[in-house]
Symmetry: C2
Subunit: 231 residues, 2 copies
DNA sequence: GGACTTCTTTGCGCTATCGCAAAGAAGCAG
DNA sequence: CTGCTTCTTTGCGATAGCGCAAAGAAGTCC
């Protein structure tokens, strides 16, 4: 089950790559399967590979000295992650990457990318786009965490997830498959608080909360909670 | 008081630029003086220029709908900021940039940079280094905000500032010129809390707190507060 | 030197959010 | 079906940090 080089065009960064380049990348890379819960790499490991997620879902996270986790990003298929080794000398991953489901990924040697970057502007530009996107998201989330109340942050998390990966049901409902713990790590709060707020929203008919599952019944109302000036 | 192209090499991103390129950049750019308190640009403005701070200090900040501010980054001389327009099409600044002191800066047209990037790998790599640095810092700060107590965050802010721009005094003391408000915006808290904690630290002899001024008397003790596992 | 402005400190009450504990679903394994 | 594991809910304190208000420094301007 080898990967077709042409499939790599589904990765934003390689959108404009030549067939030639895709071949180089495909050949200079290894396939890795990571089971749910296992790690692609840990914070602090030498950043020798950049990854392209082919199947499954993963997350980037940081852990603080006492073990608390923070979710930095959720990664879906055909997204690239761990790419900073392609740029920096002797880089180490600044975060860990863990499989949320069983995953298949392509591991591209950082050195290969580093070589390619030298004379393929489309690649640098693609990577920079990736980075600026991410910077913007982080800045926004940072501000939210600093200034917004939990309820609003949770609403935002759900909306962001909706945009990224929501599965549409009937009547505009959107289903998300996350545990309370995962949601709390994304919102920078505790699973208890998430649970309480979801219960509250359920009472109001905004969502339907199940085990590892949230169905958004009234997306618009969530937007109101997320954006509204005075509560 | 025009800028000497060779000075541009003090900017990390241009470290490896040819004299030729520096000239292009110097010529294709405008000098702007911004008085203390005024803005280089606002969040949402079209990102037509990237800036290089020549003199003074500035900050990048975001404002939420109800006017609360968050400090994203402090910018010192010879640092580049607002560069994302060099990469993205029709980009708008994701944050505002405000002068903390009277500033002189060089404004480089985004289009100029965009042209240059196409066939100067050193430039892309320089920019990517800038971005990855920033991403790492933001990730770290995000995690701090999500998981650490205020006291620790304030300690970190002081230490970070120390590394970036502390003025060394006698006996290993370090002087920082910031208001409580500014510090609070960097730590993601309120000026009251910063004031209280600085008072506390002053009582303990760790710092000396003055108007728009903090002198760190015992840097090591601050590190302990910032890193220590159990309090 | 006085009047103003800006920044800082501190007391006080408040509340959003945490954190534990215990019990209740839901799914899975044999 | 039964028991086990994992996830969720909810009650009940506890508290860290907020936010206001008022007063106290420290500069600045004329």
């Amino acid at each position: 089950m080898s990967i077709n080089p042409a499939d790599l065009r589904r990765v934003n960064v390689f959108e404009k790559a030549s067939d030639e380049d895709l071949k180089i990348i495909a050949q200079g890379s290894i396939e890795r399967s990571i089971e749910e819960g296992n790690f692609f790499f840990f914070q602090g490991d030498p950043a020798d590979y950049a990854y392209i997620l082919v199947a499954g879902r993963a997350k980037l996270l940081q852990t603080n000295p006492s073990g608390q986790q923070v979710n930095l990003r959720t990664i879906n298929a055909w997204q690239m992650f761990g790419a900073l080794g392609a740029v920096r000398e002797a880089a180490t991953y600044p975060a860990s990457a863990q499989a949320l489901e069983d995953c298949n990924a392509l591991a591209v040697k950082s050195t290969t990318l580093k070589e390619l970057i030298k004379d393929r502007p489309y690649l640098s530009i693609g990577l920079m786009n990736l980075m600026t996107d991410y910077i913007q998201e982080m800045q926004e989330r940072y501000r939210e965490l600093a200034t917004e109340k939990v309820e609003r942050r949770i609403a935002r998390v759900l909306l962001r997830l909706t945009a990224q990966m929501g599965i549409k049901g009937e009547h505009n409902t959107i289903e998300l498959g996350f545990t309370r713990k995962e949601l709390s790590e994304m919102a920078g709060t505790t699973l208890f608080t998430v649970s309480r707020i979801l219960s509250e929203w359920e009472r109001l008919g905004l969502v339907e909360a199940g085990r590892e599952r949230v169905v958004i019944l009234q997306p618009h109302e969530l937007v109101v909670i997320a954006e509204e000036l005075e509560k």
